[in-house]
């Protein structure tokens, strides 16, 4: 098991390294486009555990705009967009907006160790979808996928692939949703 962890981290480093050596060339630039959902789709409620093994429900955040992000540590664009999620959360008043990042099928201890290595320490909620049931409920095909949920609990915007979430256009959309 320990060998696996070492090999995994080495491999992640190798993969990250192979991508980052020529990162500008290889990795697509992160855009800030969010796709508006024209139909009214209620966001499925769920209950997942956070890093402290405390249960968290999406409905706990009703009345706030929520950026719901599906991610994993082995997913390079997920890692790239994380700092922008942290900046975004800091730029919008906390009583109006929350970021929730739902990790897919990984061990909380590994995720905790992983977040400690990031340039920006995430303070937003990280939840653990250990069976990927919630990602299935949200029809997530690949990581990262992100939904923007309004105060009434409806999915209003979607983004497939990494994004620059602290872009002024995204902040503007969130503030508009918060004022509705």
């Amino acid at each position: 098991m320990k060998f696996n962890s070492i090999l995994y981290i080495s491999a992640l480093s190798l993969f990250g390294w192979s991508l980052s050596v020529s990162a500008d060339w290889q990795q697509p630039e992160l855009s800030h486009n969010l796709t508006k959902i024209n139909k009214i789709i209620p966001a499925s409620d769920f209950e997942l555990q956070d890093m402290d093994e405390e249960p968290v429900r999406l409905s706990d955040y009703k009345g706030k705009v929520v950026l719901l992000n599906f991610w994993a540590t082995w997913c390079p664009p997920c890692i790239r967009e994380m700092p922008s999620m942290e900046h975004l959360q800091n730029k919008v008043e906390s009583e109006k907006f929350k970021v929730i990042a739902i990790n897919q099928m990984e061990n909380p201890d590994d995720v905790f160790a992983f977040t400690g290595q990031l340039d920006v320490d995430p303070t937003f909620k990280i939840l653990f979808d250990t069976s990927s049931q919630v990602s299935q409920d949200y029809a997530v095909r690949g990581l990262p996928t992100t939904y923007l949920i309004d105060k009434q609990g409806n999915i209003r915007y979607r983004a497939v692939g990494g994004r620059e979430f602290d872009h002024p256009e995204v902040i503007k959309i969130i503030k508009q949703l918060a004022e509705e």
């Binding site: 050596v21 290889q26 069976s131 990581l143 497939v160 692939g161």
Partner: protein, 196 residues
């Protein structure tokens, strides 16, 4: 009767020839090849009609590590690593809706020993993993992509070929409902390990 059979054979020949011509003439878009100066691993990329594709050679040890970490049985780890695996980045570079279906993609070897085989899909892998009591369902390139403006995705593409085999990948996508296709020629499976 003989004339009818002759016509049928002629029709089949024409059909095969036109399919071959179609499959080798439509494609060969602008392909950029990049060699990582440190690892020597190769990346191929191409962009055409709103569809950007990038394939990055992955070492078998990387594949082993990913699946071992997710508690796959040893035989399943080795089975996944036995494939020719590429990190794949797909992106919608247009301002329209773009979609792809991996089940429409094919590969063929340069020496013609393998002729137009379907690329193994994520669904096929998941079905095999389910039978092996593996619940993990990530890392592979999704079978279907429905991309709006700015959307992109990445995941593993798996090709059932030995190490360092050269092959062409024929892929298709739809831009605003219109079917397009392309080919990445002379792709090469990664070696077993990095050269010293």
């Amino acid at each position: 009767m003989n004339t009818a059979i002759h016509k049928l054979r002629l029709f089949r020949k024409c059909l095969i020839i036109s399919l071959v011509l179609f499959s080798s003439s439509v494609f060969s878009a602008n392909v950029t090849i990049h060699k990582n100066e440190i690892s020597g691993l190769l990346t191929w990329s191409s962009e055409d009609n709103g569809f950007s594709i990038e394939l990055i050679q992955l070492l078998p040890d990387f594949v082993r590590a990913i699946y071992a970490k997710h508690n796959f049985p040893k035989n399943e780890v080795e089975r996944a690593a036995s494939y020719c695996v590429f990190g794949t980045i797909l992106k919608n570079t247009s301002d329209q809706h773009m979609s792809y279906y991996v089940k429409e993609w094919r590969y063929r070897t340069k020496d013609k020993t393998v002729k137009l085989m379907p690329v193994k899909t994520k669904s096929q892998w998941l079905e095999e993993w389910r039978k092996a009591n593996i619940a993990f369902s990530w890392t592979l390139l999704p079978d279907i992509g429905e991309f709006e403006v700015g959307d992109w995705q990445q995941g593993f593409t798996t090709i059932k070929l030995p190490r360092e085999t050269e092959f062409d990948l024929i892929y298709k996508w739809r831009l605003d409902g219109v079917l397009h296709s392309g080919v990445l020629e002379n792709l090469k499976c990664a070696p077993e390990s990095l050269a010293e």
